[in-house]
């Protein structure tokens, strides 16, 4: 009885002073397609209470002690967070462990990656961290789908919550794929180099003394149009075939042939064979470049049901990027076509330079080495 009374008094005037911060964790998830980037901040105090991290038991938690428990902590925490995308459970892998300071003390930061089978249209989160040892613990979520950020609070009463995402509008998706197409041709130097190599002789003609500038403008413009059209036609065919899964040659083969195509196109500038029939090269190798574009598009992920749309948008993007390059190249070439600089330096030294770069690409792609970026 005596003990009971003591307890009683301790509570006598025990109203509202529990204004210390209760236990919270901060979870943020960022959706990038079927992959999510996660960051989870959990108070060291809570982790110590749950699984013990004060290795030497002196009441101080050091970075060394925390690091020693890194695997145990991430295993414990990640097992208490279930993420499913459209009903299928996603896999989580821990990337990195760090530390952060909040107003009430130090937090362990777990950075992790979540891999789902599909781009989530409905994400289901099951949160059970500390629900067995501190039911008043809360998980504060920030979920960022790239368009907007939403927040939610997890508690034992609300341990499972669903988030649905409006599929992006058709127009937005079209723009996304269009942008990807433009971006790919501008950052994929191999396609630019191939095109440039083919277009270089358009403003010139070959005679006994070597390259001479063409007098009228009509001839180079028609030549350019033929090459660009042939290239476009060819890569559109194979891009569609690959995306529709009719033919998909292995990527290493495709990449190597693309590098070889640049060499062949450039060699033709030094030892001309095809002359005004260079559109044949453009068509033949354009087929292989199309498979190259397909690799990118397949990696981007295609929206089921919007296959034709994404294919068309990506292709239009590639054409747009290509036309922009031609629009910059052709006027400059026309201006410089009568100069020694263009006829000798660019056509010879420039060609050898392109061959060297493309040769390096060929070697590294064919043999899987890393010599030069590209």
């Amino acid at each position: 009885m005596r003990k009971m009374i003591l307890f009683l008094i301790a509570l006598a005037s025990s109203l509202p002073v529990y204004a210390h911060k209760p236990s919270d964790s901060y979870l943020s998830l960022k959706i990038h397609g079927p992959e999510l980037q996660g960051q989870w901040e959990i108070a060291l105090r809570d982790l110590d209470y749950a699984i013990g991290i004060d290795g030497n038991g002196d009441g101080d938690i050091t970075w060394g002690e925390l690091r020693a428990r890194e695997n145990a902590i991430s295993a414990y925490a990640l097992a208490r967070l279930r993420i499913s995308s459209d009903g299928a459970l996603c896999a989580k892998t821990m990337d990195e462990q760090m530390v952060d300071t909040h107003s009430d003390g130090a937090y362990n930061v777990i950075k992790f990656t979540v891999n789902c089978a599909s781009v989530p249209r409905m994400l289901t989160l099951g949160y059970s961290l500390f629900s067995d040892i501190d039911p008043q613990h809360r998980g504060l979520l920030r979920l960022d789908d790239g368009v907007k950020t939403r927040s939610a609070i997890f508690s034992p009463e609300r341990a499972n919550q669903e988030f649905t995402f409006e599929p992006a509008g058709v127009f937005e998706q079209f723009c996304d794929y269009l942008r990807a197409g433009i971006w790919h041709i501008w950052t994929g130097y191999d396609h630019i180099l191939f095109l440039i190599a083919l277009l270089l002789p358009s403003v010139l003609q070959r005679n006994r003394d070597g390259w001479q500038g063409v007098n009228e403008v009509r001839v180079p413009v028609i030549d350019t149009l033929k090459i660009v059209t042939a290239f476009t036609l060819a890569h559109s065919i194979t891009l569609s075939l690959a995306v529709l899964d009719v033919v998909r040659p292995p990527s290493r083969f495709v990449e190597s042939v693309i590098a070889a195509s640049i060499i062949i196109a450039t060699l033709n500038n030094i030892y001309p064979v095809f002359n005004r029939r260079r559109w044949l090269i453009a068509f033949a190798f354009g087929l292989m470049h199309g498979f190259g574009f397909a690799l990118v598009l397949i990696e981007l992920g295609l929206t089921p049901g919007l296959l034709a749309l994404s294919l068309a948008a990506f292709n239009v993007g590639v054409e747009t990027g290509q036309i922009a390059i031609v629009c910059v190249f052709l006027p400059l070439a026309l201006l410089a076509r009568q100069t020694w600089l263009y006829q000798r330096l660019v056509m010879t030294a420039g060609s050898w330079l392109i061959i060297t770069v493309a040769g390096a690409w060929l070697v590294q792609r064919a043999f899987n080495l890393q010599l030069v970026p590209g």
Binding site: L15, P16, A19, D24, G57, G59, T62, V99, S103, D132
Partner: protein, 400 residues
């Protein structure tokens, strides 16, 4: 290469903004400590602490036998005690976890029900807490713990008649000492401050061998009564006796700090609370004292409080409204926000401190009309408090 005047201004302003925001951003960015020896956190209870060891062995025993009611009760009680001592709500969660097998039951054993009520009232779930206590007292009308807890909830909600009935039942049931003190505490707020002071004074003189906890409780009630009656010297003496009787909990420290602030003894508050920055109510009083003294720490501490209130808002927690209202009024000069918070708080709990912040905020916000319901309530309750009377006077003078 000359920038015109306007461009310079934009440039300098932009630079300043970026410079100012860096520390704010930096504090929220994860980092990797440079050295294994860096101490990241100090645990509130050292593992070598006797009480911590006791908790640990109880917890381990309960893990082996989670349905052992006696063990679960004992552990939950220890955690609740620790929660109060440290003003740390994590221990309330641990107490709830210890009671997990019974927590969701609609009719758990009486002992569990009382403990559940204590945890619920700490989270300001007063109605659920009262429902549990009522249920226990229906079967066992003399359950001392249930009576006292119900009385303290009712007292904090300003339901003095109901509280008095529980205290009277307590006198008849177990401990006369506790029952009488309970009655005196209620009466002290309910128009009998002088008489209840005298009564408690007599109780303490007649029981020289009472427990330290009991002595601390009565001394702090005496101190509070004396302060409200305007006798600072007497209040100070009782505070000293209360602090000396047993290790001080956060409740007593907060009340003493408020008394010191009213006496203009901000430096003593800084001295008293310098090491107590973990508990928000104490940290708040420390920051207010630092501001009164124009100490450089005040700015940092206020910013830190800001982020703590922000964190509890994120969580959807509303139990800090009284403290947050004080923060808004005294550290942020935001009278209208303070008034809104104080009004929301007053709807839930009605201690003298709750009345005081509402009156202060109404006065600062030039909104005397919004203090009228409270002023009427104070008259009805016959509450005696020199500070409340003073502020009420200012408000009356203000009103048309």
């Amino acid at each position: 290469m000359g920038l015109d005047h306007a461009s310079w201004r934009v440039f300098v302003l932009g630079g300043l903004l970026i410079g100012l925001s860096v520390p704010l951003i930096a504090s929220a960015v994860p980092y990797t400590p440079a050295d294994d020896a860096v101490i990241l956190e100090r645990l509130p209870l050292k593992p070598t602490d006797r009480f911590a060891a006791e908790l640990r062995s109880l917890r381990r025993a309960l893990m082996q036998d989670p349905n052992n009611l006696a063990l679960a009760r004992k552990l939950a009680q220890s955690y609740i005690k620790q929660a109060r001592l440290d003003s740390d709500p994590r221990y309330l969660g641990y107490a709830q976890a210890a009671l997990a097998p019974w927590w969701e039951q609609s009719q758990p054993p009486a002992e569990v029900r009382v403990l559940r009520a204590i945890v619920l009232q700490a989270n300001h779930q007063f109605m659920s807490a009262l429902a549990d206590l009522d249920a226990v007292l229906r079967y066992e009308p003399t359950h001392a713990q249930a009576l006292l807890t119900r009385a303290s909830i009712q007292q904090a909600r300003g339901e003095y008649d109901a509280a008095r009935k529980n205290c009277a039942a307590l006198v008849r049931s177990t401990s006369q000492l506790i029952g009488v003190t309970c009655l005196a505490a209620v009466a002290s707020l309910n128009g009998e401050a002088q008489r209840s002071y005298a009564l408690m004074q007599r109780v303490i003189q007649q029981s020289p061998d009472m427990s330290p906890d009991m002595r601390q409780w009565i001394e702090s009630l005496l101190a509070d009564a004396a302060a409200r009656l305007g006798d600072a010297a007497t209040a100070n003496r009782h505070y000293q006796l209360a602090l000396a009787a047993a290790p001080a909990d956060s409740y007593l420290l907060a009340s003493y700090a408020d008394f010191l602030l009213d006496q203009g003894r901000a430096a003593d508050v800084v001295e008293l609370l310098r090491e107590r920055t973990r508990a928000d109510p104490l940290f708040l009083r420390l920051a207010i004292a630092e501001q009164m003294l124009n100490l450089p720490e005040a700015t940092d501490h206020a910013a830190s409080l800001d982020s703590r209130f922000e964190a509890s808002r994120l969580r959807g927690d509303v139990t800090h409204r009284r403290e947050e209202a004080r923060f808004a009024l005294f550290l942020r000069n935001d009278a209208s926000r303070a008034l809104r918070l104080a009004e929301e708080n007053w709807a839930v709990q009605r201690e003298p401190a709750d009345a005081r912040i509402l009156l202060e905020a109404a006065l600062a916000a030039n909104a005397p009309r919004r203090a009228q319901p409270l002023l009427k309530w104070l008259v009805n309750a016959r509450m005696e408090d020199v500070y409340l009377t003073k502020i009420a006077g200012h408000i009356e003078a203000f009103s048309p």
